[in-house]
């Protein structure tokens, strides 16, 4: 059963990813991204990270991709770019090296150490923590005790990001924006 879930989710992820990099229309690429994000959310659930799955769908697919689509529509970049030509001749070979290199090496490393990593699918997390809490409780406990400072800083970060975005994109009275 888990296998089926894994295979389906993996298919969604990979199809969506290929779609992102291949589709010429940016709107299509954004929709492929949504497919990928969904696949990842499914796998999160399979890994007993229920809270994160929910957050993934709400924040990533629901907010970030929507934001992307807003900007695409706003700027009118639904015009396509020609993907067949490449002004820097060295770029495609380098991309091939990077892609194959990363995939190949990580796969090789992981496979070589599968005896250490891949023994079974791990323990049930609720059993480890021992008190049978749900996932969200466990995350909360960990977040607000060990990582509370990071948590506070991230909220500051969000505020800064919002302010920054507003600053960047406002139009001043005389018509000029921030360049």
């Amino acid at each position: 059963m888990e296998l089926v879930v894994f295979v389906l989710a993996a298919a969604m992820i990979l199809v969506g990813a290929i779609g992102v990099i291949v589709r010429r229309n940016p709107v299509h690429a954004a929709l492929s991204l949504v497919l990928t994000l969904f696949g990842v959310a499914v796998l999160f659930v399979a890994q007993e990270a229920h809270f994160l799955a929910a957050v993934q769908v709400i924040v990533y697919a629901g907010a970030i991709v929507v934001l992307f689509l807003f900007v695409i529509m706003l700027l009118g970049v639904d015009r396509t770019e020609d993907i067949t030509i490449e002004p820097f001749r060295i770029q495609r070979p380098l991309a091939a090296i990077v892609g194959l290199g990363v995939i190949g090496l990580v796969v090789a490393s992981v496979s070589a150490s599968r005896d250490v990593i891949g023994r079974g699918s791990g323990l049930e997390i609720p059993a480890v923590t021992g008190d049978g809490d749900s996932n969200i409780r466990q995350i909360a406990r960990n977040l607000f005790s060990d990582h509370v400072f990071a948590f506070e800083f991230t909220s500051v970060l969000l505020t800064v990001a919002v302010v920054g975005a507003v600053m960047l994109t406002r139009k001043v009275k005389n018509g000029k924006g921030v360049s």
């Binding site: 060295i90 380098l94 990077v98 290199g101 090496l105 490393s109």
Partner: protein, 637 residues
Amino acid sequence: MLDLIWLVPALPLAGFLVNLLFGRLLGEPKSGIVAALAVAGSFAVTAGIFFDLLSRSEHDRSHVDVLFSWMPVGSLKVDLAFLADPLSITMALFVTGIGALIHLYAIGYMHGDPKFSKFFLYLNLFVFSMLMLVLGENLLVTFLGWEGVGTCSYFLISFWHTRESAATAGKKAFVTNRVGDWGVMMAMFLAFGAAGTLSYSGINHAAEEGIISGVTATAIGLMLFIGAAGKSAQLPLYIWLPDAMEGPTPVSALIHAATMVTAGVFLMTRVNPVLEVAYDWAPTLIAIVGVATALFAATIAVAQTDIKKVLAYSTVSQLGFMFLAVGSGAYVAAIFHMVTHAFFKALLFLGSGSVIHGMHHEQDMRKMGALRALMPVTAITFIVGWLAIAGVPPFAGFWSKDEILLFAFAKSPVLYVAGMAAALLTAYYMTRQVIMVFFGEARWNDHSEENGAHGDFKPHESPIVMLIPLVVLAGLSMVGGVMQLPFSKDLHFLEKWLHPVVEFGEADIKGTWAYDNKYVLLGIAIVVALAGIALSVAVYAKKKIAAVEPVLLANGWHYDSTISRFMGGPGRKAFDAVAWADRTIVDGAVNGVGRVVQSAGGTLRRGQTGAVRNYAAFIGVAVVALLVWFFLRGVVL
């Protein structure tokens, strides 16, 4: 008084500075008087030190006055220090004494010259340098003076620099001296390496104790001799001295007769323990070079027509005698001859200057003659100088030359014969000069218009300012021999005075045939001198024998012109090749490094395309490389 030794070089230095700053203001003749007084003051202080040393016992006659520590670098400790001992004070006495007389003479000779004060500041600078040379306590202070006198020689030879020949002569003197200076520098390096010090007491002590090996001592001695050959105009580096006659006559008298050219002999005498410890062939080589130079230059002097050139070659010849003495271990004789030569050669040069002055700057002897009546004082003093150099007793030159030949015979009869031949020629050409200038018919009327003489040309006697030094020097040339008479040990004043300095190196000839028969040799010397004079009289005065003045000799055996041709021809090509190598290879390598860096930078610059995607690609590639490394490290190895 000994503590005031620093005054001796300081006074001429002060004179130089005064003339440098205020010379033009003081004008003629005050700047000359200032310069002369400075040197006279030096002489007075030196005389005081002389008497001070005389009052001490024989082995206490050495005093070192350290002004300051000059170069304390690691194990090399060189001080700016003066050494007052018999040798240096003897040198200083005649340098300052004759120097003062020549300054006085020059006030008259340079009358009317637009650069009057400049002349005297150069002269004072020269005296300062020469005093640093002789009073130096170590080789480096001497070398300072050595270079200084070379530089001043250049300034003074090319004093009338608007004349092409004078400027060239100055350059030639400087460059030839430089070749010799290389020798002195090499000797300094070797001395420091062997003895660990540059001071004379240190080096001589090391030689006496045997710390310096025979090989090193030979090397040091020969290197110093190369320097001496340059400075004292021996074969093969004498070529600058005849050309140096382009300078004003007081310069020729002071520098190229009495003082600078003797620096080489002084240096060799200073390091006589080193020469003593060297292999025997080294002093023999010095002696051979000396006597060869003496003979060579004497043959050339026979055919010269310029009044100063005769004296120039004569100087080279007499210096050869001094080196013959050094090579034979007769250091006392060498110094003796140096002092007497200073007297009579300065006298002869000043006399010739007086003649030139009276003849309105005519220097060709063929256009002179019968000047005896018109320039009586000059004539008489010149004749005294002539008799002294020809070796006629009781004049000074006879005693000193005889002493040298005595030691030469003790070393090798061949040297003696060669030296005698040179002495014969000396008497011959000097007599020739006296006859051509002062006796015979007056040949100057024919050429009266040629040298700016105004209408009715008549040679005249020089002013009294120029005659006083002539008279003084003539007196010294007459009685100077008294310093070292051979008749008895008690009369060897100079030898007793110089004994502590030369005792290690002085040759001991007591048992030789020469010593036992020295009165025979004395007689032979007198006969040879008189024969030379008689021969010359027969040729030039009585005209009984035809004059033999081959062109070969007049051109100096073509030695000088051969060197010039070589340096200008193949030598020039070699120099150009070296310059090319320096430009192309050495500079090329250095510039090449710069060019390589530039081109490498230019190539790398093309990676900065400005496009973000390229930068991302490079980052990606680097990440892959890192992954490869981690993979190899963790999984493979």
